[in-house]
Symmetry: C2
Subunit: 250 residues, 2 copies
DNA sequence: TTCCTTGATTGATCTGCATCAAGGCAGACC
DNA sequence: GGTCTGCCTTGATGCAGATCAATCAAGGAA
């Protein structure tokens, strides 16, 4: 864990706001956390509500506390592509830019922890670790985006679905208690078929068909429309097209 | 231009190494530039040579001085997706990670300006502006990646080709002298048809067919295989599917 | 010159996913 | 109960782009 205090324990002893352990580190604790504390505020959104429209003025940066939000781009004729999925602790917004580049939408009820941009930028200038932490997070997102480019450009519909399920399963598993690598995983899909389609560059019909196919082939078990059980993670990973070096739970 | 000295003039009076004006700013000049100067070194590669393989140890970060390099991901069965195009002044590598995540390949003869990772990281810790500048660059790349996700997921073959041509034309134009918005633009394609296909998530045959179609329709003029003239930028932009708010030369 | 090689073009055919269309199911509300 | 309404499933059909394959053009090298 290097010189930083363990992020998990740090998160535990400082309350709910995830920006504390994602955007800053324990080294900054004494002064900067206090300042962050002073400029932060919370916002809530209902499922389906739009947080911000592409092109709108955006005078804050924020971090997801609970719930799920999506970033989407839309073409004039209505074609849509989701370009990001924001889960708790993910960061939105960009220091140094004043308008939003994407539509941000709450897909579930959502609570975000916001910071007005100007004070946040000022704080960043005086606090090297915040910029470094943000850089680290942004590089992670860039890697994820590039992984997604491979999926969009080269994977088949079945591989796309399997990859999405694997990603959700992994992120979901890492939010719960760490535990021995379980053989079966169960979770609720946070997205409708249409949202899955927008994420994967498919139509909702194709998503539905491939879900049915994976179910028929025993790769997943569907209980209702949303509740998914994955009996064997290995079997799922075989369907993703990725070279899985066994690193499911990293 | 805020308090920073104009990046262009700064680049001009400090020689060829682009990291100077891309990764740091004039405020750091006195001390940090000197230190950067001390730890930097150059590397050259021939066209076609691989700079680094995905998974290899990577103990440096670098910036392209001249030439063009690509980042690609490859699946086990050989499907390839390009996930980045590095033009002069672009940055590769990631502080805080020791292995490469993608194959980096020189598509033309290439010169890179390298910094061993450890000293660079140390320098970054003591120099807030470097981290901030890198953050800015990374956010730009993230935006570009997300734009590319829209292309890969939702655009037709013809729109993909037109978009790629528009991007190359724009980047090429911005490297040359600033000038009045010219009506016609001429440049050499830095990529083979196969590389274009890997970038666009198509096959090389489809790339070739769509290039011929654009030529037949008078959107582009081909002189040989590589030399492209775009008689009307507006006509090209109409083919990209983007809502072009006239912002071709930003 | 002729032979190779490398990259590009063009044609014929195939197929995976989109599109169009018709239900089905479960919860909300009367 | 009935009937919306939102979300999902399933079927029939069409087409954009993949695949397979032949040909071409431009350089080298012998």
């Amino acid at each position: 864990m290097s010189v930083h205090r363990d992020a998990q324990s740090f998160a535990n002893d400082c309350g709910a706001c995830p920006i504390r352990h994602r955007a800053v580190c324990a080294r900054c604790e004494t002064d900067e956390l206090v300042k962050l504390e002073q400029i932060k505020y919370y916002r809530s959104y209902q499922a389906g509500q739009t947080v911000i429209w592409s092109g709108d003025r955006m005078d804050f940066v924020a971090s997801v506390v609970t719930g799920i939000a999506t970033l989407t781009q839309t073409m004039e004729d209505g074609r849509r592509q989701m370009v990001g999925l924001l889960l708790p602790s993910d960061f939105v917004g960009r220091p140094g830019r004043s308008t939003a580049a994407y539509d941000v939408t709450a897909t579930t009820d959502l609570v975000m922890c916001c910071f007005r941009k100007k004070p946040f930028e000022d704080l960043m200038t005086g606090t090297p670790h915040i910029a470094q932490r943000l850089l680290e997070m942004t590089l992670d997102e860039l890697d994820a985006a590039r992984e997604w480019m491979l999926l969009l450009g080269r994977k088949t519909a079945r591989e796309k679905i399997a990859s999405l399920l694997a990603i959700i399963a992994r992120r979901d598993a890492s939010l719960k208690e760490p535990r021995a690598k379980a053989n079966a995983i169960t979770f609720d899909l946070p997205l409708t078929r249409e949202e899955m389609a927008d994420y994967l560059g498919l139509t909702l019909e194709t998503v539905s068909r491939q879900m049915s196919a994976l179910k028929r082939d025993g790769v997943i078990v569907l209980d209702g429309k949303r509740h998914v059980t994955i009996p064997s993670i290995d079997m799922l990973m075989e369907q993703t097209g990725d070279d899985n070096d066994g690193g499911f739970l990293v």
